[in-house]
Amino acid sequence: MADRRPPVRILGNAKPSLSRSGMKEYVRMGTQADLRTYEIYQRERVHEATEKIRPIELVSPEFVRDPYPVFETLRENYPCYRDWMGNAYWLTRYDQVTSVFTDDYNFETRPKLWFYRMTGYGRDLRQEIPVQTVIEKTYDQHVVPLTEQLIADMKATGETDLATAFAARLPLELLTRALDLPREDFSSFVEHYWLMQRGYDWNPVAEKAGRQAMAALADMFRPLLAQRQPDPGEDMISAMSGLTLEDGPVTAEDIVVTLLEMDHETLHGALANLWFLLLTHPKERQKVEEDQRMMKFAYLETLRHSAPVLWKKRFTLHEVERFGRLLPIGGLFYCAAGAANRDPRQFKDPARFLVDRADLCQREPRGHYRADGLASGIAMGLGQPSKHPALPEDRPRSLYAITRDTAVTASNLLLDAFPNIELSPGAKPTLKSLRLGEMHTCWHLPVHL
């Protein structure tokens, strides 16, 4: 990913020297902030006190289970909330969250690799056209036969758990097809892929497992890369092996990093949440049954109503005045898409799941979040929404669109195969994150076919 930081300027006459502690004089890497001597950030007054919320609520188990009450408190009272405990700001209104997502000049996106503290381990090749082309092709090609296969597996049992047998499995099956992995590697790929995706945040045990999983994945890809370089097939690894990059040939680590940054959360989370919502909202489900074209709208509404990725982190690149505050350089912003998607300033009756919602944009957002004068739900797609309104014909669809089409096609097949699908008697499914900061989705959705 291109470095968007300002050019490095070496300061003063700092000469590396060895101090008594053996701490090599810290390296002055350039200036980003002018030194201020008398500046005021967020000088709060008594009447501005944020006493309706305690910062500890943002890390509590209740918040992990259901963040929406806290989101509402923040959005309606403290739109740019200074969380002293987490040393961060929370943005919760639709306009403000989208304004940060589309402002690469002032706000930096740090890759997951940065949170692993492994910058330089490998390169993210998601944006390479040949890679995107293969993803588009393999996903389009495999989604129907794969879903049919999953349906056949489910039919054999009569009862099944949609969350694991369908929503969790389909994205990884597709990914193995796109990578063209040997079938015997599937189980260990699933394990390592998941561990890698769960490891970049704050839990040190998960981080260690994640690092080990990344090494294991690299070991898995290394022979495949060597084998496919001279004799490329039509898969992601071959596509990557054929790339000519400025800074050296593609390595197995690059493939790992690409998978890490690409992730599966929107597809997995949207499928699980979509079916959770359809099964618990019979009226809405009926609309989809009557006209299958509504499935796409149900998918978009799912991402709005129950976004699997609740927030994304951004960091200020410069000191900047926004949201009524002077924001310091390096400030961490939680851009809460989950809160913005239920902003009543944008969506009427936002807590309601309504597949034929009139105020939700039905088109892919391209660099901006509105079209036709309507606000769109912030779907945290795979990758950024594309920046260019007019894409050339030969460019693949964005990952956002590929994901949407995959989810809609698969869900329609499922509905066709099991028209009488119902929640198992007594089942009380809910959405939750397994750990603070992870995807908010339905992990247990037992159904009677």
Binding site: S19, E25, I40, W194
Partner: protein, 485 residues
């Protein structure tokens, strides 16, 4: 060729290995809050090790009760294995070694104090949020009244205030005093340590005596209301209340300055507020808001910390009767006891800094503008500097306990402790708090004959027998028995 169900099985197997099934069904390990078991002192909870055998560090421990009572082994892990530790839960970097911290403190260009920390809002425009020349000029405005000649002038008053309070022990409320069989039991905190610093600060500031009753409210609320607390609003209200109070005094003293007097009634010059009213920065008089901010800092900094230090010092000394007896024998040792207390159980954990540009320390790149916590508490327990750092020993030969220096002290095997910080932002109240702690304790020790801890009234540690450790808390209550005549 594998069958469908084989593949489904292999997916389920991989999935189950990556995600603990109890996480899917129950609420295990979901939030960022976790209960950790309380460990014997000096031992840490097993948080696992990485692939090279290096201990892992769970950031949730820093919010736990275990950490507050038994922080030493955890900071040791950080010092030994993560000299710069990035806590992703609170987006903060921790610097824990003595030498690293000292270098960072000295460099107030790279590690600035601009107000992104949690104290602003409550305290106001205080000097610890300034840097460079601006900081020096404003700090000196009030700092000069707390050191040197001005301080010497205050010593008789400190002695008088301490004596007055101790003379009054006979009249203490029954809830903190019991006399039985020639032995008196008092709670040192409410009897002396809480209020003594307040009286001193009141006196130094030249506040009227009736201001004392507001003081507990002010400094409890301001200290308790810093930043990430539930009581943030209360802190800001208290500051507003203080500001309103000071505004009236300032208005009055701009017209009619008031003076300090020694014990014999001789005039010793104007009090701090009167002097601040006359002070100018760049030709402008200070506004009453600026004066309030300076006073808020003196109020908050001068009360809570000194009372914590007096309590911690007496608790530690009385748990080591040989050291206590030595101090009683030789009053010159009180200085060493004071400094060893601050080294061993410093009531302030650390100080925040922000890096002005990207820096790399011990291989960790810290992006510009990050919050870096300099953990003074850990620096004072750095075994690279102090032998057996977790032992309380006033006779240790590696702790400097001479005149406090802003530059810190690090010569001939002796180092100053980190409790006051070092460098340009070193605590401006260090000198006066030293005098308060030592003078107050000297007088106390003379009066409290055969002092010892009343163990039955004190909270116990997890074994149910030994006394609870101080940890990074300040001691709340300290029950002391002493002989009446």
């Amino acid at each position: 060729m594998s069958t469908n169900s084989d593949i489904a099985g292999s997916f389920a197997a991989g999935f189950a290995r990556a995600i603990d099934p109890t996480q899917l069904t129950g609420d295990a390990d979901t939030g960022a809050l976790r209960d950790f078991p309380l460990m014997p002192l000096g031992e840490h909870v097993d948080m696992g090790t990485d692939e090279n055998g290096k201990p892992l560090f769970d950031p949730r421990i820093m919010m736990s009760a275990e950490f507050r009572r038994n922080p030493w082994p955890y900071y040791r892990i950080l010092r030994d294995h993560y000299p710069v530790y990035f806590n992703k839960l609170n987006n903060t970097y921790y610097v824990t070694r003595y030498d690293d911290m000292t270098e960072c403190y000295y460099d107030d260009i790279a590690f600035n104090t601009i107000p992104k920390g949690s104290s602003n809002g409550v305290l106001g425009n205080v000097t610890h949020e300034l840097s460079g020349v601006e900081h020096r000029r404003r700090r000196n405005l009030f700092g000069q009244h707390l050191v040197g000649k001005s301080l010497e002038n205050r010593i008789p008053a400190i002695e008088r205030l301490a004596t007055e309070m101790i003379d009054d022990f006979d009249n203490l409320d029954d809830s903190i005093k019991q006399d039985k069989d020639g032995v008196r039991t008092i709670e040192l905190g409410r009897a002396f340590a809480y209020e003594f610093p307040v009286r001193v600060v009141c006196d130094v500031l030249g506040f009227p005596e009736e201001a004392r009753e507001h003081f507990f409210y002010w400094y409890d609320s301001i200290m308790g209301g810093l930043g990430a607390s539930d009581t943030h609003k209360q802190g800001m209200e208290a500051r507003q209340h203080l500001q309103d109070y000071v505004a009236d005094i300032v208005k009055e003293r701009r017209q009619n300055p008031t003076y300090l007097y020694d014990n014999d009634g001789n005039e010793m010059g104007k009090d701090i507020i009167s002097k601040l009213c006359e002070s100018q920065v760049d030709g402008d008089y200070l506004s009453s808001e600026e004066i309030t901010a300076l006073i808020a800092l003196v109020v908050a900094g001068g009360g809570e910390t000194t009372r914590g230090t007096i309590m911690n010092m007496w608790y530690s000394l009385l748990q080591h009767p040989d050291q206590y007896n030595a101090v009683v024998e030789d009053e010159a040792l009180w200085d060493a006891a004071f400094h060893e207390t601050l080294r061993h159980s410093n009531p302030i954990g650390g100080q925040p800094r922000h890096n002005t540009f990207d820096v790399e320390i011990h291989g960790v790149v810290i992006p510009a503008g990050s919050l870096i916590e300099m953990v003074n508490f850990s620096g004072s327990h750095d075994e690279r500097i102090f032998k057996n750092p977790d032992d309380f020993d006033i006779f240790r030969d590696d702790l400097y306990s001479g005149k406090l220096l802003r530059s810190g002290y690090n010569k001939e095997g002796k180092c100053s402790h980190m409790a006051f910080g070092v460098g340009p932002h070193m605590c401006p109240g260090a000198w006066i708090s030293h005098q308060e702690g030592v003078i107050g304790s000297k007088i106390l020790a003379k009066r409290l004959k055969n002092a010892r801890i009343n163990t039955s009234m004190m909270p116990k540690d997890i074994d149910g027998e030994s006394l609870a450790p101080i940890g990074i808390n300040k001691l709340r209550d300290l029950w002391i028995d002493y002989d009446l005549d």
